[in-house]
């Protein structure tokens, strides 16, 4: 009898509290290619990743002042764990990063780190190597763009 009562209470709670959970609260399933992205795309584009960016405007010529501000952000928020060479420190070295990943993937990864680590196959592959989840460093869109320009500079774009 008591048990039945408990079940009633629980079901009442299930119906009452079963609100929606936000995208980032969903547990990682390890699968990514069939899931919907946060903006509702039916299939996952591993070149784009998941996040707010769908395209990035890039001038073939380097924007030096943008790269300089990226360098300043790097020294505060990134340089503790990433080297500018190809050598892994806590995270992977940055040399060649702009040829390994698309611009939009990088922009999404550094601004939407938690969701990317939960969903993106390439990000998860890196996590298996490094075993430290990259911290969300709360970069603004402009911060992220500056950092990307600095990565390009580091990869030899002039």
């Amino acid at each position: 009898m008591k048990k039945l009562f408990a079940i009633c209470i629980i079901s009442a709670f299930m119906s009452a509290c079963g609100g929606k959970t936000s995208e980032t609260d969903e547990p990682s399933t390890g699968e990514s290619s069939i899931e919907k992205t946060s903006d509702g795309n039916p299939s996952y584009d591993p070149k784009r990743g998941t996040g707010k960016f769908t395209s990035v405007d890039i001038n073939p010529k380097l924007d030096v002042s943008l790269a300089d501000s990226g360098s300043a952000i790097f020294s505060v928020k990134c340089g503790s764990c990433h080297k500018l060479t190809g050598e892994k420190l806590v995270g992977p070295g940055w040399k060649g990063v702009t040829s390994r990943y698309s611009a939009v993937w990088i922009m999404n990864f550094i601004t939407n780190t938690d969701e990317m680590l939960n969903k993106d196959p390439k990000a998860q592959a890196q996590l298996e190597i490094c075993l430290v989840r990259m911290p969300n460093q709360n970069l603004s869109d402009n911060n992220a763009r500056s950092l990307y320009e600095f990565m390009r500079q580091n990869d030899g774009v002039k």
């Binding site: 008591k2 048990k3 009562f5 408990a6 079940i7 209470i9 629980i10 009442a12 709670f13 509290c17 020294s75 505060v76 928020k77 340089g79 503790s80 764990c81 420190l89 806590v90 075993l131 430290v132 989840r133 911290p135 969300n136 460093q137 709360n138």
Partner: protein
């Protein structure tokens, strides 16, 4: 599900036990079967209310969720907290500075939420220090103590920190009357009547920044001021203080302060006091008190000593203060949401007097006084009285309101809560408490707009309510559902220290404003390291400043050599994380103070004086990542005359062979 079943089963067992053992006065109000469901908040779900409890002799303030009774946080206020480095880090030490020097402990009795238009607004919560008189302001964006101001001319700051309805003032009335700080205190104790005075401080609160300043102090007759509440709505502009020891006894107060049939509630017309102040009627006195303020950008507290306060003498300046007789050593002094009714709770009485603000105004206009007490007019009891609640219980202490015309009064001696109607003064319901209830709390229950879903009783005696834990038991709170006509007990939960007064507020008014991390770009601490590239170790004579960073999961630098015996080392640790809930801890062997707990984007400093030559490890104390246990380093301490050069590094201080192989 198994848990819930077990819980229900236990509750039914408990209920049965009570029926047989304790014989509650009203069997209908014992724990019933749906109590667990009413207090149940599913894992991962939020509570509806924040409940702020005074920590009493712990000196802190605790935060619980309602209705679950989950402990959410303990905010260090007046006592040091080595867990958080509060009072130990160089940045927080000044918060506990006073005119007596650094005071590491106090006794916090009453939290009071800030209000706008008489409604709780969720911006700040204030707390009083009862021993070394101070008032603290806690910022509810960070849940940290933002400011502490000391009170001169005061001793046992008890009737505090109650506020006016737009948080214009926080008040602080002295429990112990004493000779003023500016007078000779070296007098015989038995000259109380002649030399002792009661001071009430009105502390102004900055509209935007909340900054506190003592606007003026009222010099009043020497009695004990116990509790207080501001008028609201129609009675805005007035403040009401309960007074006991109107016998002016200085010894064996248990007997000697319980002689008179009636003590007083003191009505204070603070708008009138403001007029006198403006007219220059205040007297400046030289005193000494500390004002401490924490800057959230530099993450550093500053303590400054102040030396002047303005006194208004209520004996000379008429029409500020009036006494209203109130039976038997009143404790609670509570104003209903309309501002018309003032409920006095004489803790040795067997009735509850309810005073009418309109009648008090008329009595003052008609000069319906029965005489004077030490120069202050005493209004005739009947001229101020609206009516009495007859035979409600024994020892009324404190009254809260539901905004629906009802009052809830705690009874310490008869250990119960009584619900009564304010208009007709009839008792509607009563429930026993386990045991000896002190204060009550209804969310917004002392404001113009209560949120009357729950009531919490804070009990003074725990005894057999919890598993025995030696001679000392956690104190206890009991949660009641008051949404229906009858009060229903739904949960017991243990508390830290001693809960006296408490406040509760709908979660919506606070949770969305909560700071998640401090922006590293805005950190103006003089010892911040903006990035690992800026870390360094600097020697200035015998002082060594270590500019250090922490990020998952390493410190930089993590190898330091060249520290010598006799040096004073300051670790200035900046947490470079920019995400919610990622503090790093910092501890070093042999530190005689505490750890640091550094929030994301913050800089905190630990002073360390090595006491011997040798190798000293340091490590992160707050589990931060899979490689948390790797977050460690060494400091080498050499003899005073050593010629080991000062060096520091991260990741490069390798054995000679390995370093050579790498090249």
């Amino acid at each position: 599900m198994k848990n819930l079943t077990t819980r229900l089963l236990m509750i039914s067992i408990v209920t049965v036990t009570f029926f047989s053992a304790c014989k509650p006065k009203n069997l209908n109000n014992a724990v019933s079967g749906d109590a667990a469901a009413k207090a149940y908040v599913a894992p991962g779900k939020y509570d509806e209310y924040y409940n702020f409890l005074s920590g009493g002799f712990s000196g802190q303030m605790s935060v619980y969720g309602l209705p679950s009774g989950r402990l959410l946080r303990v905010i260090p206020v007046f006592s040091v907290d080595p867990e958080k480095g509060y009072g130990y880090s160089e940045e927080t030490k000044p918060m506990l500075n006073t005119s007596h020097g650094m005071v590491p402990w106090d006794d916090l009795h009453h939290p009071e939420l800030s209000q706008t238009n008489g409604e709780v607004d969720g911006r700040w919560i204030f707390g009083n220090a009862n021993n070394t008189p101070r008032v603290a302001r806690i910022d509810l964006k960070t849940f940290r103590t933002a400011e502490i101001i000391e009170l001169p001319n005061s001793a046992g700051n008890h009737s505090s920190p109650f506020i006016t309805e737009n948080t214009e003032y926080v008040v602080a009335g002295t429990r112990f009357s004493v000779p003023g700080d500016n007078e000779n205190g070296d007098v015989p104790i038995n000259t109380y009547k002649k030399n002792f005075k009661g001071y009430i401080s009105f502390i102004s609160v900055g509209k935007e920044d909340g900054k506190m300043d003592i606007a003026f102090q009222l010099k009043c007759p020497g009695v004990n001021f116990d509790l207080s509440h501001a008028g609201k709505a129609k009675s805005h502009g007035w403040f009401f203080f309960s007074c006991y020891n109107t016998e002016q006894a200085n010894t064996l107060l248990e007997v000697n302060a319980s002689q008179r049939d009636k003590d007083f509630i003191m009505a204070v017309n603070w708008k009138k006091a403001e007029e006198y102040l403006k007219a220059g009627k205040g007297k400046k006195e030289i005193v000494k008190y500390a004002h401490n303020y924490y800057n959230e950008k530099s993450h550093t507290a500053i303590s400054e000593m102040r030396h002047e306060v303005t006194i208004l003498d209520t004996k000379e300046l008429k029409d500020i203060c009036y006494f209203i007789p109130c039976p038997k050593s009143p404790h609670g002094c509570d104003v209903d949401p309309t501002g018309e009714y003032i409920v006095g709770s004489g803790k040795l009485a067997a009735l509850i007097p309810v005073f009418s603000f309109d009648k008090i105004q008329k009595a003052i206009a008609d000069k319906a006084f029965e005489g004077e007490f030490d120069g202050i007019p005493v209004i005739k009891y009947d001229a101020a009285l609206y009516g009495e609640v007859k035979k409600p219980g024994l020892g009324p202490l404190h009254t809260e309101f539901d905004g629906k015309g009802n009052a809830y009064t705690s009874f310490f001696v008869s250990s119960e809560v009584v619900k009564w109607n304010i208009k007709d003064l009839k008792v509607l319901d009563r429930v026993p408490t386990y045991y000896s209830v002190g204060h009550l709390c209804i969310p917004g229950g002392d404001s113009r707009k209560p949120s009357p879903k729950y009531m919490i009783a804070y009990n003074k005696i725990t005894k057999d309510r919890y598993l025995p834990t030696g001679p000392e038991l956690a104190q206890s709170a009991q949660l009641f559902d008051i949404s229906g006509d009858k009060m229903q007990l739904i949960l017991d939960f243990p508390t830290i220290g001693e809960p006296h007064y408490a406040q509760a507020i709908p979660a919506e008014l606070i949770k969305n404003n909560s700071v998640k991390f401090f922006k590293i770009e805005e950190n103006t601490n003089p010892y911040v390291s903006q990035g690992e590239g800026n870390t360094k170790v600097v020697r200035t004579g015998k002082k060594i400043d270590v500019y250090m960073t922490a990020i998952r999961s390493h410190f930089s630098p993590d190898n330091i050599e060249g520290v010598k015996l006799g040096d004073e080392v300051y670790f200035h640790v900046t947490n470079l994380e920019q995400d919610w809930d990622v503090p790093h801890g910092f501890a070093v062997k042999g530190a005689v103070n505490s750890e640091l707990l550094i929030m994301p984007g913050e800089t905190q400093t630990l002073k360390w004086v090595p006491d011997r030559v040798g190798m000293f490890p340091m490590y992160c104390t707050d589990f931060c990542s899979a490689l948390h246990q790797e977050m460690q380093g060494y400091i080498r301490v050499s003899p005073a005359g050593s010629n080991v050069p000062l060096t520091f590094s991260t990741g490069t201080n390798l054995p000679k062979e390995e370093a050579a192989a790498k090249k």
